[in-house]
């Protein structure tokens, strides 16, 4: 099926405060805008997405941020596919957030989170490529005086077969830029793709092999100073006083500044000297109102919510309460998921240059427009007088999107040394103590089984923290946080529950401890998959039925959920016994628009867990680069298993206890299982890839641990449990 899209009918809706649901983007505005001469080379911009230089180099503009997930390569593939250019000539560049603003958001949304990089922009970037292709053809046709319909574009060249003429794109670009964009373009059927859909190598690998890739922490600007910062470690606390004079004479120190109410920074010639002085700086904290808060007090708060009367309903079918109270046999279990830190390998950082007229920021960001807004606000300048230069990210995982605290800090420091660029880099300790933590929730699940072992009712009571309430209140619906129910709802395209339960209630008692929560790769799907998938295993066990067979019975109306589950079961050999001492577990969920499943093989010897093998399957609808999908899935298990085995930020005295990787352990090479990825794109929809499979890592492994040991682990991380 080819999709013909009329460029004039669609409207362009600007949504500066994009909500979780995303924003709609039309296509007329981008392409009727006059092209701008770009950059020092002034190569012609065919349209906002495509610049072609005289040497045939194709520069594809990428609005979303590359943080390792491969979206830069994938988006370029989509544009190049429609452009019919020579892939070997493709390079990429980021347009800046201020350019986007100045051009009526011609590149749409810059936000890169929720596994949306490709699934939300595939259509308009493909249109960008197709429009540019048609303009190149039109330019050639005009030059040759032949009908455009007789010309074809292939491999970066327009050909008119009848007169045996051909010209490279580079020769046509200047004329093409002046052509009127076509009113309609037809996008290719994905089955005809030759660039998109292929496992092409990433475009950004070479510089990562020899130290030449520049990250935010590596930035050098003329006369630049370096800043180290310490914010009050107590949540809700602030600076009471500090003794700048005590460190003023230390080597390299230029100034000691307060940053907003909460932090103190030392500015020095080098970062190491700034940090050394900061370590020596006497600071008195106003510890704020949360000194009594501990992990135990938070657990008690959530525990209370498990039995509370009031709760927001996320999914309801039949009458779970009535069936459960009348049921002959019920099964109940309570699970818990702790705080996690994103722990990107590159700590938070931003560089700012402020003058009373202008503020510029260089920052690795998942959302350049949010960075720009934060910079303008902190600078006290109109946004038109600010600019953000996006830098390649050393990991994002959700930490560098909504939360622009480091940008505000950098600008606040730069305002105190106007005219001099200042690079602010957080220490790992600062990064650990000032996260936007994966929220903590608990879940009590109660299921009713009839005499034949069928699940007749299920109540999932979630108690705990809402991310939206803290960071995006405009996304709340009458006080309810809909994102809490990721993967558990009954309708929609984002993530529905894969089971039919006639009497179902999923509800949420919101309990918000004073710890800042955030979107952490996988978001609430992580714990929801853990809850529902481990409990399915408990129910199957209670019913005396094989966990796969038990699930199958509930999944007849959910063929896509079932397909990925069946795929991993088959590949792991579910119907055949595993090797001696090896045990298996399964899990499936839908999230970020994709259907995912995992099967794990583990052994537990003298209490020592070994994860031998993971088989994962994903159905994201369409696949733009299968090699990148495979890497994302593989990597997602490192993230998910790190959380499962080690991840836990504990609160004591109103602050986090873990300050570095020595106390916040993560998965390393020796524990990494083999991961086999099955990609099952069933077409017809576009799902995300970077996040969903994280969520099935822990439940598949915990179910396998139960098979191995008979122990149900219901609280993460595993390191707190004795498996012997």
């Amino acid at each position: 099926m080819n999709a013909t899209i009329s460029l004039s009918r669609r409207s362009f809706i600007i949504g500066v405060a994009a909500t979780a649901g995303g924003l709609s983007l039309g296509f007329n505005v981008p392409f009727i805008k006059p092209a701008l001469a770009e950059g020092s080379e002034a190569a012609p911009e065919i349209n906002a997405w495509v610049v072609i230089r005289p040497d045939d180099t194709v520069v594809i503009r990428i609005a979303r941020s590359e943080m390792g997930q491969g979206t830069l390569t994938g988006l370029a593939q989509l544009v190049a596919e429609e452009l019919n250019c020579d892939w070997s000539k493709v390079t990429t560049e980021y347009p800046s957030p201020a350019q986007n603003l100045a051009r009526d958001r011609v590149w749409g949304n810059f936000s890169t989170g929720g596994s949306r990089g490709i699934r939300e922009s595939h259509e308009y970037v493909r249109i960008g490529g197709a429009v540019a292709r048609e303009m190149l053809i039109a330019a050639a046709a005009a030059e040759w005086g032949v009908p455009a319909s007789e010309c074809t574009a292939r491999m970066g060249m327009v050909t008119h077969a009848a007169s045996d003429r051909a010209t490279f794109y580079g020769q046509l670009a200047a004329a093409a830029a002046r052509m009127t964009p076509p009113a309609n373009v037809t996008l290719k059927d994905p089955k005809d793709w030759t660039i998109a859909g292929k496992p092409l190598p990433r475009l950004d690998t070479a510089d990562k092999l020899n130290g030449s890739q520049i990250y935010g922490t590596d930035l050098k600007l003329p006369n630049m100073l370096n800043a180290a910062i310490r914010a009050c470690p107590y949540f809700g606390g602030k600076v009471e006083s500090f003794d700048a004079a005590a460190v003023a004479g230390m080597p390299g120190v230029r100034t000691v500044v307060q940053v907003d109410e909460t932090a103190v920074a030392v500015v020095a010639d080098t970062w190491w000297r700034a940090k050394t002085a900061l370590d020596a700086l006497p600071i008195v904290w106003d510890e704020g109102p949360n000194r009594q808060v501990t992990s135990a007090s938070i657990a008690a708060m959530l525990e209370e919510g498990l039995g509370a009367n009031d709760a927001f309903v996320g999914a309801r079918q039949g009458d779970a309460g009535a069936v459960l109270s009348a049921a002959g046999r019920t099964v109940t279990a309570t699970y818990a998921f702790p705080y996690q830190n994103h722990a990107t390998m590159e700590p938070m950082n931003a560089t700012a240059l402020y003058t009373p007229e202008r503020c510029e920021v260089w920052v690795p960001t998942q959302n350049g427009e949010a960075s720009l807004a934060a910079a303008a606000e902190a600078a006290g300048l109109p946004v038109q007088q600010c600019e953000v230069h996006k830098i390649h990210l050393g990991g994002g995982f959700g930490r560098r999107g909504n939360f622009q605290d480091y940008v505000r800090q950098a600008v606040s420091i730069a305002r105190q040394v106007p005219g001099t660029p200042v690079k602010l880099v957080w220490s790992r300790e600062e990064d650990m103590l000032h996260g936007a933590y994966h929220p903590t929730t608990r879940c009590r699940l109660t299921g009713a089984l009839d005499a034949d072992g069928n699940l007749t009712a299920l109540h999932m009571r979630i108690s705990g923290q809402s991310i939206l309430a803290a960071v995006r209140p405009q996304g709340m619906q009458n006080g309810m946080d809909p994102v809490v129910f990721q993967g558990l709802v009954l309708s929609g395209t984002e993530g529905t529950l894969g089971y039919t339960v006639d009497n179902l209630l999923v509800d949420h008692a919101m309990r918000n401890p004073p710890i800042p929560p955030g979107f952490w790769r996988g978001v609430n799907l992580n714990q929801n998959a853990l809850y529902v998938e481990c409990f399915m295993d408990e129910l199957a066990h209670a019913a005396g039925v094989d966990p796969l067979a038990f699930r199958r019975k509930l999944m007849a109306k959910h063929p896509k959920h079932l397909a990925v589950l069946e795929a991993v079961a088959e590949r792991i050999g579910w119907d055949n016994p595993p090797a001696a001492g090896v045990h298996r577990g399964l899990a499936q969920i839908m999230g970020f628009g994709s259907y995912v499943a995992a099967a794990a093989e583990v052994s537990v010897t003298d209490g020592q867990l070994r994860i031998h093998r993971i088989v994962a399957a994903t159905d994201p609808g369409h696949v733009v680069n299968p090699a990148q999908v495979e890497r994302q899935v593989e990597g997602s298990f490192v993230y998910g298993l790190s959380a499962c085995i080690y991840g836990e930020c504990t609160v004591n005295g109103g602050r986090m206890e873990q300050e570095n990787f020595d106390s916040y352990e993560v998965l390393r090479m020796a524990e990494m299982p083999e991961v086999e990825t099955i990609i099952l794109p069933s077409g017809g929809f576009w799902g995300g890839v970077g996040e969903p499979t994280i969520a099935v890592a822990a439940p598949a492994v915990l179910n396998a641990i139960f098979a191995a040991t008979g122990k149900r682990i219901r609280t993460l991380p595993l390191k707190n449990h004795d498996l012997s």
Partner: protein, 156 residues
């Protein structure tokens, strides 16, 4: 005040002797390929070679380096990314965000220098660098590929 040999070139540096070698490399020498990840020798992002031995530079005071010791950073591993480890990394497209990868590559190159044909257990024991993007399985495959390439060179 002190001289270090970095990537074959003697460099004079003026710095407090307690300064970790990492920050001398990054801020005095200006070579930023070597990364800061933890500062407590727990993550491996700062791995360099000292006389061919993979070493975490973030917790090593510059004063502990002898003037005649050869320091090699990612920038000096090869002039043109032709080191077998870099080539294997390219062939398997190992990096994701890439931030940990300089340390990974230096650790892998160090391992292969000591043990040209490492078994899985050797890789597990020696490559303890953290990668949050999750490239471990590709790192392992690339080490094996580089080992094979090294073998071929030796035989050849």
């Amino acid at each position: 005040m002190a001289t270090l040999i970095i990537n074959g070139t003697p460099r004079d540096i003026e710095v407090d002797p307690d300064t970790p070698l990492l920050w001398v490399i990054r801020e005095q020498i200006g070579l930023t390929g070597t990364k800061y990840g933890c500062g407590v020798a727990a993550c491996g992002a700062c791995t360099i070679h000292i006389d061919g031995v993979a070493t975490r530079s973030c917790a090593l005071p510059v004063s502990a380096v002898e003037p005649d010791q050869q320091i090699t950073t990612i920038e000096g591993l090869s002039p043109d990314s032709s080191h077998p480890v870099q080539q294997a990394w390219l062939a398997l497209d190992v990096p994701q965000c890439g931030y940990c990868q300089a340390g990974m590559i230096m650790a892998a190159a160090g391992l292969l220098m000591q043990n040209p044909n490492p078994a899985d257990e050797d890789i597990n024991a020696e490559i303890t660098n953290i990668c949050r993007c999750g490239t471990y399985n590709r790192v392992r495959a690339a080490i094996k590929l580089a080992a094979k390439a090294g073998e071929a060179t030796q035989r050849g």
